[in-house]
């Protein structure tokens, strides 16, 4: 098949629908290796979009390439937990064996090796993605074998199957993970009640969003239900947010692996309540390996009349489409996610209007986290009274935590809301714990004196990440890893975050090089104050949280590294003469600059 025919076939499969652009780009790239200028032109023509818009989307996502990136693309997950498991050395070893610099494509166009943001395998790292397939538990031996397979150009599909195994690691089950529902049970109960009564149950259960913000699910569904559709394509939509990009979070991965029916059923219940016929599951690109299993779970549900027209022989109609993301943390933010669903770069929208009134295709849309939707099934099946008995007054039900880092048993822990940090640490076998980063880099860093605080909306709210750091860890390096994460993931739309995240990263690197001074610490505080108030979305607003927390709670980790109390140069002065030394061959005293000024 020629390239043009191939592109045509892909575009045709997606009904020449620009809103499917992300899928079109991914499938095209899976076949052609990269997205060349002429490929983008062909796609633009086929979906009748301006070419620049197609290029804008292709250019936005980390997993799309507008330049050839090698037949094998190895991406090392670079969360702090991967670092703690030694990913840096492993990646270096791999690059050395391949004669490669990180980020560069080998001269024969065979392979490139680079880092990527957390891939959600923190409980079984160090992890890599090879051609966007997840591989866990990297070891020096595996690196060696992998290099061999790449050199011999063995197709990734034929690599050892056990490399691709991803374990659930469920360590503690509570009401949700221990549910005994069969597919259709919760949905039948919801249909029995009808949308209004079902909504009332959700409200009475006081269910709140598990994606981070903790918004009342009942209120969200109600507003969406009451909003009129807009224009000639009036409709309502349900979106399941499975972007799970917050480093250290992997509980949605487990729900989608082992409880996909519960998630799809929750989406259907939401559809019933808000009056939607269509649901969209936005799956992060890192979880590409789950796509086929999820598609087949959908097919099974269709066959069982749990999706489609006349669901369970009622006149309720609902179906679900899966959209795969392409490596952009910002797409977890609900309005950026909707932009991405529409085939555009994941740029957060101006709000208001909110998605509940103007969401996907400008229609009323409820965006909910995977876990929120799964929990709604429990409420449908067992009622709000039963549900609200669990947890605390303001935080009903349970929360699934993704525990990783310095502990004996990392994995998935479900607790009723209200559990103390100390309890979780005990259960996961964490000794000599110094700090826990809860809810990921944008969450909070909890130090030893605070371990009696509780996981609950009224104390420590969380999207689920629970990264443990023992006394040997350097909390400055933890914060610096997060600073790099935010600089990499800022969407670049607004000034404070686009420039601020990079300034913060550079300052942290400067302090790490032992060239910092108290002036630089003041700068960090100043940037925090600016970005927190002026940024366009939650990413920029919270990007300095880990810096602020560690500066307050682990100040000496910064102070140890300061060069002096005096102002320090922004760059390494002696290194700034390197090129001239190289070109002149000089190495005399005058060919060097001391980094400290002579007194």
């Amino acid at each position: 098949m020629s390239d043009t025919d191939m592109i045509d076939a892909v575009v045709e499969r997606h009904h020449r629908d620009g809103a499917r652009l992300m899928q079109i780009l991914r499938e095209t790239q899976e076949q052609l290796g990269w997205l060349s200028p002429s490929t983008l032109t062909a796609i633009a023509e086929a979906i009748a979009w301006p070419r620049a818009m197609v290029e804008g989307t292709a250019d936005f996502y980390s997993f799309f390439h507008t330049r050839p990136m090698g037949r094998y693309r190895v991406l090392w997950s670079d969360n702090i937990t991967d670092r703690m498991l030694g990913n840096t050395d492993l990646m270096q070893a791999m690059c050395k064996k391949l004669w490669l610099e990180p980020g560069r494509v080998s001269e024969d166009g065979l392979v490139s090796v680079d880092t990527t943001s957390c891939t959600g395998m923190c409980d079984q790292g160090p992890a890599v993605l090879v051609n966007y397939r997840a591989i866990t538990r990297m070891t020096p031996a595996r690196v060696g074998e992998m290099v061999g397979l790449i050199r011999s150009e063995m197709p990734v599909a034929e690599w050892p199957a056990e490399w691709f195994s991803v374990d659930d690691n469920i360590r503690r089950k509570d009401m949700l993970l221990a549910h005994d529902l069969v597919p259709g049970q919760a949905l039948a109960a919801a249909l029995e009640r009808g949308p209004e009564k079902m909504l009332a149950e959700i409200r009475d259960a006081r269910l709140r969003g598990r994606g981070g913000a903790g918004f009342s699910t009942g209120q969200k569904w109600e507003t969406c239900r009451n909003a009129e559709g807009n224009g000639s394509n009036a409709a309502h939509y349900v979106v399941c947010n499975a972007d799970e990009g917050e480093p250290g979070t992997f509980k949605d991965r487990v729900l989608l692996t082992s409880h996909a029916d519960l998630v799809f059923e929750g989406m259907s219940i939401a559809g019933l309540v808000v009056g939607a016929k269509k649901g969209l599951l936005y799956l992060r690109g890192e979880y590409r390996y789950l796509l086929e299993a999820l598609e087949s779970a959908l097919a099974t549900r269709r066959a069982a009349k749990l999706l489609g027209k006349n669901i369970l022989d009622t006149d309720f109609e609902f179906d679900i489409e899966i959209h795969l993301g392409a490596g952009a943390y910002i797409c977890g933010e609900e309005s950026a996610l909707i932009e991405s669903l529409e085939g555009k770069p994941g740029r957060p929208r101006i709000r208001p209007p909110f998605p509940v009134t103007h969401g996907y295709l400008d229609q009323p849309t409820t965006v909910n986290n995977v876990e929120t939707l799964a929990a709604s099934c429990l409420i449908a099946a067992h009622g709000s009274a039963w549900y609200a008995q669990h947890g605390t007054e303001k935080s009903t039900g349970s929360k699934i935590l993704s525990v990783s880092g310095d502990c004996e048993r990392s994995g998935i822990y479900e607790y009723p809301y209200g559990v103390t940090v100390r309890q979780v640490l005990e259960d996961c076998g964490a000794s000599d714990c110094q700090a826990v980063q809860i809810s990921g880099p944008s969450g909070i860093c909890v130090a030893e004196g605070e371990f009696d605080r509780r996981i609950a909306f009224e104390d420590i709210p969380t999207a689920g990440a629970f990264m443990v750091f023992d006394e040997t860890r350097d909390m400055f390096e933890v914060a610096r890893n997060f600073a790099h994460f935010f600089a990499h993931e800022s969407c670049g739309f607004c000034t404070p975050c686009r420039v601020g995240t990079t300034l913060v990263r550079n300052l942290m690197d400067k302090i790490a090089r032992q060239h910092g001074s108290p002036y630089d610490i003041d700068e960090l505080f100043k940037l925090h104050r600016l970005m927190q108030g002026a940024s366009h979305c939650g990413l920029g607003n919270s990007a300095c949280n880990p810096i602020f927390d560690t500066l307050n709670k682990f100040r000496p980790a910064y102070e140890h590294r300061l060069m002096s109390l005096d102002y320090e140069p922004a760059f390494d002065l002696d290194a700034a003469l390197s090129q001239a030394r190289q070109m002149t061959g000089r190495d005399d005293a005058a060919a060097h600059l001391q980094n400290e000024a002579e007194a």
Partner: protein, 189 residues
């Protein structure tokens, strides 16, 4: 102005001022001289230490240091540090000192390529190889504004700053006010 710069307000000791041009074009110094007859008033209040206007080679203890030009080579860094060590107040004067200015437009080129082109490959230029005389200061990989290397207390923008801006700036400073320029005097070009 005389009322402001009044002997009763100031101790009889003159303010000691040093100036220098790093990677600059002397435009700022020329502009300084453009304050014309006002320089006579100024001379009553200040005296010059190291400066292209004097013959003093090294900067001694000063109240005020005025730096024109950015950092292009190792020598610039040494001079800047000497100024920072000896001047209580250090002022970046002009676009080049403040953001690298025109010389910084080489920053998107690789210094090695530049040296190679100038000294080795470009026809019509001397082909003696890159000079390696230890007397010559080595160029920095990139041109930098001075605030990236030392703490700068005040900035006086312009390319060059107009004489009126320099006058306003200095008289504010002498009178103990935070210098402000305002519309018409604050210029980046």
């Amino acid at each position: 102005m005389n009322a402001l710069i009044n002997a009763t307000l100031f101790p009889p000791k003159k303010l000691r001022v040093a100036t220098t041009s790093l990677a600059g074009c002397f435009g700022c110094h020329m502009s300084f001289l453009d304050i014309d007859e006002r320089i006579l008033k100024l001379i009553e209040l200040i005296e010059f230490d190291r400066s292209p206007l004097t013959d003093i080679k090294h900067c001694g203890p000063c109240d005020l240091g005025l730096i024109e030009g950015g950092l292009c080579n190792a020598e610039n860094v040494h001079v800047l540090r000497e100024f920072r060590t000896h001047c209580k107040i250090l002022v970046a004067v002009g676009a080049c000192a403040i953001n690298g200015g025109l010389p910084a437009q080489r920053n998107h080129l690789d210094l090695r390529d530049v040296l190679e082109e100038v000294y080795q490959t470009e026809p019509g230029l001397s082909h003696g190889g890159v000079p390696n005389d230890p007397e010559l200061p080595l160029p920095l990989n990139k041109v930098h504004p001075i605030h990236e290397v030392v703490k700068v207390d005040y900035f006086l923008p312009g390319c060059p700053p107009p004489a009126d801006a320099i006058w306003k700036f200095l008289t504010d400073l002498l009178a103990g006010r935070t210098p402000t320029l305002g519309h018409g005097l604050l210029h980046y070009d």
